[in-house]
C-alpha cells in the first residue's frame, strides 16, 4: 500500500537522522571531557602558587588541544558537511567553551586576543563555511566573552597572589574588547545578553585597578617593572 510505503520511507530518513545525532553526541561528550581537563589545568592559575608556572600550564593545555583536534577531526566525519547548521546545537556549547579555553591559553601566553583564524587552527577546524566544518562567528564571539569573565576573576586573584601589574593590563585588554564589541550591532539575543555581562566584568576590574591606584600600588608596579 502506497501510504504505508511512504511512511516506512520517511521512517528511514528519521532513523538515519537520529543515528547521526547519536554519533555526534558521543564525540561531543568526549570533547566535553577533554575541555574539562583543559579547564582543570588552566584553573590552577587562580591559585597563588599557580601564578609561578603559567608557561608550563599553557604547554600542558596545548598538548590537550592535540586531542581536541583529533576529536573535531572525527566529528567532521559524522555528518554531511553542508548540513552543519542542522546539527549545530549539538556542538555549539562545547565549541564556545573550547574557543574560550584557546583564547585563555593564548592570553596567558602573549596577553593578546586570539583571532578567529588562530582559534580555528588550534581547534583544527575552518574559518570559512565553504571550506568545511567551521567556526561560526557568533560562537567565536561567545567564547571571547567567557574569556572576559575569566579575566576579571584573574585580576582579583592576581592581587591576592601579589601580582599588582596584571590587573592594569587586564583592564586595558578588556576595555579594548569592550570597544570592539560596542562597534558591533548585536541583534542576536543570547550574544547580546552575554555582552551585557561584559559590563559587570569591566566594572569589577575597574574596582581592582582603583583599589590598587589609591594605594599607590600601580606606581610601585611601573617603577619596579613587571613581566
Amino acid at each position: 500500500m502506497s501510504v504505508t510505503e511512504m511512511f516506512s520511507f520517511i521512517q528511514g530518513f528519521l532513523s538515519a537522522d537520529q543515528d547521526i545525532r547519536e554519533d555526534i553526541r558521543k564525540v561531543v561528550q568526549v570533547l566535553e571531557q577533554t575541555a574539562r581537563e583543559i579547564l582543570t589545568v588552566l584553573q590552577s592559575v587562580h591559585q597563588p602558587c599557580g601564578f609561578k608556572d603559567i608557561p608550563s600550564k599553557c604547554l600542558k593545555a596545548r598538548e590537550l588541544f592535540c586531542t581536541v583536534r583529533n576529536h573535531t577531526g572525527e566529528l567532521k566525519t559524522k555528518f554531511p558537511v553542508e548540513q552543519y547548521y542542522r546539527y549545530h546545537e549539538h556542538w555549539r556549547f562545547v565549541l564556545q567553551r573550547l574557543v574560550f579555553l584557546a583564547a585563555f591559553v593564548v592570553y596567558l601566553e602573549s596577553e593578546s586576543l586570539v583571532t578567529r583564524e588562530e582559534v580555528a587552527k588550534i581547534l583544527g577546524i575552518e574559518v570559512d563555511r565553504e571550506k568545511g566544518f567551521h567556526l561560526d562567528v557568533e560562537d567565536y564571539l561567545a567564547g571571547v566573552l567567557i574569556l572576559a569573565s575569566e579575566l576579571s576573576r584573574l585580576a582579583v586573584n592576581s592581587v591576592t597572589a601579589g601580582d599588582y601589574g596584571r590587573p592594569l593590563r587586564i583592564s586595558n585588554f578588556i576595555n579594548e574588547l569592550d570597544s570592539g564589541f560596542r562597534l558591533l550591532n548585536l541583534k542576536n539575543d543570547p550574544l547580546r545578553k552575554r555582552y551585557d555581562g561584559l559590563k559587570y566584568d569591566l566594572k569589577k576590574i575597574e574596582e581592582v585597578v582603583y583599589d590598587l591606584s589609591i594605594r599607590g600600588l600601580t606606581k610601585e608596579q611601573e617603577a619596579g617593572g613587571d613581566k
Binding site: 500500500m1 502506497s2 501510504v3 504505508t4 511512504m6 511512511f7 516506512s8 520517511i10 521512517q11 530518513f13 528519521l14 532513523s15 537522522d17 537520529q18 553542508e82 548540513q83 552543519y84 547548521y85 542542522r86 549545530h88 596577553e111 593578546s112 586576543l113 583571532t115 563555511r129 562567528v137 557568533e138 564571539l141 586595558n172 585588554f173 576595555n175 579594548e176 574588547l177 569592550d178 570597544s179 570592539g180 564589541f181 562597534l183 558591533l184 550591532n185 548585536l186 541583534k187 542576536n188
Partner: protein
Amino acid sequence: MHCCDESRTCTALWSLIHALLCFHSSTVFQQELDTKHDKHERLVKISRDITIESKRTIFLLHRVTSVPDVEEILTEADVKLDSVRQKIGQIAEELKGEDLHQFHRAFTPGMTTNTYDGQPTCHVTNTHWPSEVACVLTFQITPTDYLLGVADLTGELMRMCISSVGNGDIDTPFQLSGFLRQIHDGFSYIGNTGPYEVSKKLHTLRQSLGKVEDACYTLRVRGSEIPKHMLADVFTSRAATHLDPDEPIV
C-alpha cells in the same frame, strides 16, 4: 577615557589588537552578522507572504465541494499557486549556496502551509497520494516539514468531510476516513522517533480522524434505517424536492 592614550599606555601590541578588533570587527564581523540578519528578515517576510497566499488558496479549494464549476476554481487556485511557487523560488534564490538549516526556522511556517496546500488540488481530482509537490519546489523540503504539512492537511480534510456530510455527499467521508486512517497509522508507526513537533501533531490528527469516523458512523446508522420497501420511494421524492438528479445515491 574609554580610548587608551596611545602615546603613553598603549604599546605596539595594543594598537595591533585595537586595529584588529575595532576595524576587523566593524567591517568583517559586522558585515557577516548583518548579512545573516538581513537575509533572515527577508526570509521571514517571504514566508509570511507564502502563508497568506496559501491560506487563500486553501480557502478557495474548500469551495470545490459546493460550487458547480469546479474547473474554474481549480484554474483560479492554480494561478494563486503560481504566485506561491514564485515566492518559493525567491527563497530558493536566497538560499543558493547557503546551508538550508541555518535559516530553517525563518521559512518553515510558510512551507508547511504550502505542503498541504498542494494536496487538496490533487486529492480532488484523483484520490491518490500526490508527489508532484516535491518537483514544484526547487529546493528540498525536509521530511519533518513534509510530515507537518501532511498533518495540517488532515485538519483541512476533516473540515471538508464535515461539510460534505452537510451537503449530502455520502461517498467522500468514507473515502476520506480510509485515507486519514492510513495517515494516522503511518504517524503512529513513526511515533516519537521523529522530532517533537511531529509527535505533538499526532494528537490533533487523532481528533480529526475521530470526527471523520463519527461522521461515517452517522451516515451508516442513518442509512441502516430505510425500510426496504420504501427505499425507491424515498429517493425519488428526495430527488424531486431538493436534490440534483446526478447526485450519487447511497
